[in-house]
């Protein structure tokens, strides 16, 4: 059974269609990437999956549950990292982990082990305000995992991290997946999508334009004048086509 089922999702903000008839499923144990240009509707899509926003139409099932109607149950099973959210300035690293773990049945996972895995032990008594951008990001990922979730949804996972920290984070995400957690990753870094994701949903102008493995997306691309296209080339050509089509539609 799919862990996430999205069918015919629509969301408009005024005149702007943010999500336009998007459908896909996420299978247990995979790392599922959602990629596309800024403003393509990636974040809106995951926010609907998370139950933070209501869709205008279409259905979402997360582990068979409705993220809005069954909010309480979904919250216990899904760990979420948001793009731009923070903690109180004065909270210490260990306090945040200890506090968030107390929100989950049975106290979630062992937050001390998680703190070590995320390389935050040295910073355990540092307040949130004094953490570097990368450390804040690692703490944020740790908080998404501290409830021992079945699904982790991570938005802009490695934004603000240096190259080494990004690679460490990828290893961590693979380790999380190996424990049986399904991972949904929103990113605009193609190297990250290519190395980490089993399958990718490419979203442009609110529409799902492709859904396949990174290798298949690259293989299916023919870019004039480029001998060996990369995933970035593939995604760019897919999203450029949609953008042109959308422009043509609006002009006609």
């Amino acid at each position: 059974m799919s862990v996430i089922e999205v069918s015919n999702l629509h969301k408009r903000y005024g005149d702007h269609t943010a999500v336009n008839d998007v459908s896909f499923t996420v299978e247990p144990g995979e790392i599922f990437g959602i990629v596309g240009p800024n403003g393509a509707g990636k974040t809106t899509t995951v926010e609907i999956i998370e139950g933070l926003r209501a869709a205008d139409s279409g259905t979402v099932r997360v582990l068979g549950l409705d993220p809005r109607a069954d909010r309480a149950q979904v919250r216990r099973l899904v760990g979420i990292q948001l793009q731009e959210s923070q903690l109180p300035d004065q909270i210490k690293v260990w306090e945040a982990l200890d506090l968030y773990s107390s929100f989950y049945p049975g106290g979630g996972t062992d937050w001390r082990a998680l703190m070590a895995e995320m390389g935050l032990v040295e910073k355990r008594n540092t307040t949130f305000r004094k953490l570097s951008g990368g450390q804040k990001q690692r703490l944020s990922i740790a908080l998404a995992l501290v409830g021992n979730p079945r699904i982790a949804i991570l938005d802009e996972l490695t934004t603000g991290l240096d190259p080494q920290a990004r690679r460490d984070t990828w290893d961590l995400i693979r380790a999380v997946r190996d424990r049986g957690v399904t991972v949904v990753l929103v990113t605009h870094f193609m190297d990250e999508a290519e190395r980490l994701c089993d399958r990718l949903a490419v979203i442009a102008s609110g529409r799902l334009v492709a859904l396949d493995t990174p290798a298949a997306l690259i293989a299916g691309t023919a870019v004039p004048g480029v001998e060996r296209p990369t995933l970035e080339d593939a995604v760019l050509s897919l999203t450029a086509v949609t953008k042109a089509a959308a422009t043509n539609r609006s002009q006609s």
Binding site: E50, P88, Y104, G107
Partner: protein, 261 residues
């Protein structure tokens, strides 16, 4: 079987979760030393400084019925404490938590933002009660001020006054677009409220016209009601009604307009 375990976890988990949230928020409250000082220690410090430093504050005065100014000033200090905790501590933490996505982050966990608001009310009200008790103890030990003659009436006035001011803080936090705006609105509300509470013109020294307006402000009503109860009367129905109406209206508007992110 699984359901039974889940239920057991849930029932064992909720008090633990709320307990930890209260404890964490208490620590965070105390880590803002300026605001913690003004909430907890300042009322007592003010009582002592007024009694020791102001001439005539310990002398019986005819225009206040032969009582000493310090005797009628203690309930006013408590009204000031209510205003300080609600318009400064509570308001700034609520707005900052909303503006910086703390509430939004929490809303992705089994905790609801409403849980956090409740915990903030608990922490701030505890600080307020503590500060008021300290002020009382200081007044009794240093200047032999009498206990409130109508304890029940005083308790009602204190609670209702705090509730009205909390509701106003929630409403400002709900409608102010940014932290800066909310602290500006808070300040603009804070100083006139203190005037109407009688901080500068205690008890009968307040001009009649000002008194009539003060009757209809939440803090003025709270201050009057606490002064009445302190001297042995019951709070006037008008004052109780004013506080109740502010609590209900501001509270309902805050609930209606509060955006979690």
């Amino acid at each position: 079987m699984t359901a039974a375990i889940t239920t057991a976890n849930r029932t064992a988990g909720a008090p633990r979760m709320l307990g930890k949230l209260v404890w964490t928020e208490t620590k965070l409250f105390l880590r803002e030393p300026v605001s913690a000082f003004f909430a907890i220690a300042f009322p007592a410090v003010l009582v002592v400084v007024l009694g020791k430093a102001l001439p005539g504050f310990l002398e019986p005065a005819e225009d206040i019925g032969g009582r000493r100014p310090i005797d009628i000033y203690l309930p006013i200090v408590m009204a000031l404490a209510i205003a300080t905790v609600t318009m400064i501590s509570l308001l700034s933490v609520l707005t900052a938590y909303r503006e910086r996505g703390v509430l939004r982050r929490l809303s992705t966990t089994p905790v609801t933002p409403a849980n956090l608001l409740g915990v903030q009310l608990i922490v701030n009200m505890t600080a307020l009660v503590l500060g008021s008790v300290l002020a009382y103890v200081a007044a009794v030990t240093a200047f032999d001020v009498a206990a409130p003659a109508n304890v029940v009436g005083f308790g009602i006035a204190f609670l209702l006054g705090s509730a009205a001011m909390c509701a106003i803080a929630l409403l400002i936090a709900a409608v102010a677009p940014t932290s800066r705006a909310s602290s500006a609105i808070g300040t603009v509300v804070y100083f006139p409220m203190m005037f109407f509470a009688g901080v500068w013109t205690p008890g009968p020294m307040m001009p009649d016209a000002a008194r009539r307006i003060a009757d209809f402000t939440p803090l003025g009503a709270a201050s009057q009601a606490m002064q009445d109860a302190w001297s042995g009367d019951w709070p006037q129905p008008l004052h109780l009604a004013v506080m109740a109406v502010f609590t209900a209206c501001a509270g309902a508007a805050a609930a209606r307009f509060f955006r979690w992110h």
